[in-house]
């Protein structure tokens, strides 16, 4: 019962914030809207009984990635954009139509297959324990986990190398 109310509230907020990302003319406000949608998504994960993933969403997305985005926005000092959308009216209309069609397709598919999924009636009632997740992570997905460590190392090297390119934001 209360889950239903919470879901609709969070869904409304999520759509609102996402539209804010799309529509706001200032990139800084777009990024702040994205921060909002990340926090709402974290609440939604909590609602779906994966509190650990919810906390990770807060730490990684809201607390780290979005801080970086907001910081870069403030560093660039981007003004409000007069023309925020690329392309002309017709091409944009086509793009909107395609995205709408895509959303409709996914929605219709979900609606058609809903009996197939809900028929299994295996809805989780208890909270997903971190331990069962860790079992999967460090046994079944062990290779992926180690590869991820290597990828993070490569990204660090790449970021440092990119920042070495001459110039500087204060040179302008």
């Amino acid at each position: 019962m209360i889950t239903g109310y919470l879901f609709y509230m969070l869904a409304f907020l999520l759509i609102l914030f996402s539209l804010g990302v799309l529509m706001h003319s200032s990139p800084l406000f777009s990024s702040l809207n994205l921060v909002g949608s990340m926090i709402v998504l974290s609440a939604m994960y909590y609602l779906l009984q994966v509190p650990f993933i919810a906390a990770v969403q807060l730490i990684v997305y809201a607390g780290a990635v979005m801080v970086l985005f907001v910081m870069v926005m403030m560093m660039f000092d981007l003004k409000h954009e007069i023309k925020i959308f690329s392309g002309g009216f017709i091409s944009n209309a086509i793009k909107c139509g395609l995205a709408g069609f895509f959303a409709f397709t996914i929605g219709a598919t979900a609606f058609m297959s809903t009996e197939m999924i809900s028929g299994s009636a295996k809805v989780k009632t208890e909270v997903l324990s971190v331990k069962s997740m860790a079992q999967l992570l460090f046994k079944d997905y062990l290779i992926e986990f180690e590869v991820l460590g290597v990828i993070l190392l490569l990204v660090a090297v790449g970021a440092v190398a990119l920042s070495r390119i001459k110039g500087g934001t204060h040179a302008s």
């Binding site: 509190p51 906390a55 807060l58 730490i59």
Partner: protein, 383 residues
């Protein structure tokens, strides 16, 4: 939030009380800071208004309320006003997730002509089950208040102060997060109640099946994780931007850092956020390494039984015990808050490159070493 009216009421009052607890701590801490610095520097400090200068804070509060309203001309109004409000939220949300006293049981009682209960009441805003990870997640949102304040003021000193503060916060967040991993390895849980329960009694541990114990020491985490506790304390100092790590507010370089353009109540709200963070850090330190709300060697059942033997009712005895434990918890927290003040007036400020070097090249490797050694020792002890 609760199944019936009384429980919902109790829980709501609890939330508000915990938040007010955080808010009212600020004037006390400001007083402690002024008098404490005076004590350390061998002078009097504020002593004119009221006994021991206690009323000085009231005078300050009145002054804050009647300050002039000011927004810098080029500043962004919405962001400028939003920043202090945002600064309040992470500290409050994090503090409400920490248990302040033991869970106590209320037998059914009569209220408004109806019978209510029984209840089991946590002295805690909410029990999220993943405790420490939730707190790390929520307090990582603290960076936004600084960024918003720095950008909204349209002042380059504010912006630089904010960027410095954020760079410092995120650098020390690594050491903070990593220093706790050792403690989690020892306790095997994220949940605060379980962590505190494991610290009951006298110090005892099992090595390869043999029980070893030191009867005169409490079973606190500090004896398992001394290095982790120290790293946590230092990282918490840097997280809260306190001296010796208060580079964002270095007066000689940056005026007052990210809140240069703020005054009056809005400035006070940044202080609320900062002291809230300090309180959360102290509470975490107490919970992880100093036995939480427990008195050493004494369990809450013993005190409840003792109170009952004095002829108190069950409910009364349980509530009184919970309040006793709450007092113990607050005293432990206040000791660490005093350490914050003490360190502030003892150590000089770091230089910025020294600060970053300390975070990345000293504390992070030491925290990593702590984790590895703990893992190996746990493995060898339990195998």
């Amino acid at each position: 939030m609760g199944s019936d009216l009384v429980e919902v009421l109790i829980n709501s009052v609890k939330l508000v009380l915990i938040f007010l607890l955080m808010v009212q701590l600020v004037p006390i801490l400001v007083w402690v800071e002024r008098r404490g610095s005076a004590f350390i520097q061998n002078r009097y400090g504020p002593n004119r208004v009221g006994p021991f200068g206690l009323m000085q804070l009231l005078a300050d509060a009145v002054k804050f309320v009647f300050k002039e309203e000011f927004v810098p001309g080029k500043g962004h109004k919405l962001i400028f006003y939003a920043a202090p409000v945002v600064a309040l939220i992470p500290g409050a949300l994090a503090f409400a997730a920490i248990p302040l006293a033991n869970t106590f049981h209320l037998e059914p009682f009569m209220f408004l002509g109806e019978s209510w209960g029984p209840y089991d009441i946590n002295f805690q805003g909410y029990n999220v089950g993943i405790g420490i990870v939730f707190i790390l997640g929520v307090s990582s949102l603290g960076a936004y208040a600084l960024l918003l304040a720095g950008w909204g003021s349209a002042n380059k000193y504010s912006l630089y102060g904010a960027l410095r503060a954020v760079a410092q916060m995120i650098s020390y967040e690594l050491a903070l997060g990593l220093s706790i991993v050792g403690a989690i390895l020892v306790y095997n849980t994220f949940d605060f109640h379980s962590i505190i329960a494991q610290q009951a009694g006298a110090l005892s541990f099992t090595i390869s099946g043999r029980e070893l114990g030191i009867p005169f020491l409490p079973n606190w985490g500090i004896f398992y994780q001394p290095l982790g506790a120290f790293l946590f304390l230092v990282a918490a100092f840097a997280e809260t931007n306190r001296l010796p790590f208060d580079l964002p507010e270095a007066e000689s370089e940056l005026i007052a850092g990210f809140h240069t353009e703020y005054g009056g109540m809005k400035m006070l709200m940044f202080y609320l956020g900062e002291y809230g963070h300090m309180l959360v850090a102290s509470a975490l330190l107490v919970t992880f390494y100093f036995g939480g709300y427990q008195l050493p060697f004494v369990s809450h059942v013993m005190i409840e039984d003792m109170l009952k033997s004095f002829g108190l009712g069950i409910n009364m005895a349980n509530v009184l015990t919970a309040f006793l434990f709450f007092t113990v918890f607050m005293i432990k927290c206040l000791i660490f808050l005093w350490i914050y003040v003490w360190v502030r007036w003892t150590l000089p400020r770091f230089r910025y490159d020294q600060l970053m070097d300390l975070g990345w090249k000293t504390m992070l490797p030491w925290a990593l070493a702590n984790t590895i050694v703990t893992a190996v020792v746990v493995f060898l002890a339990r195998i």
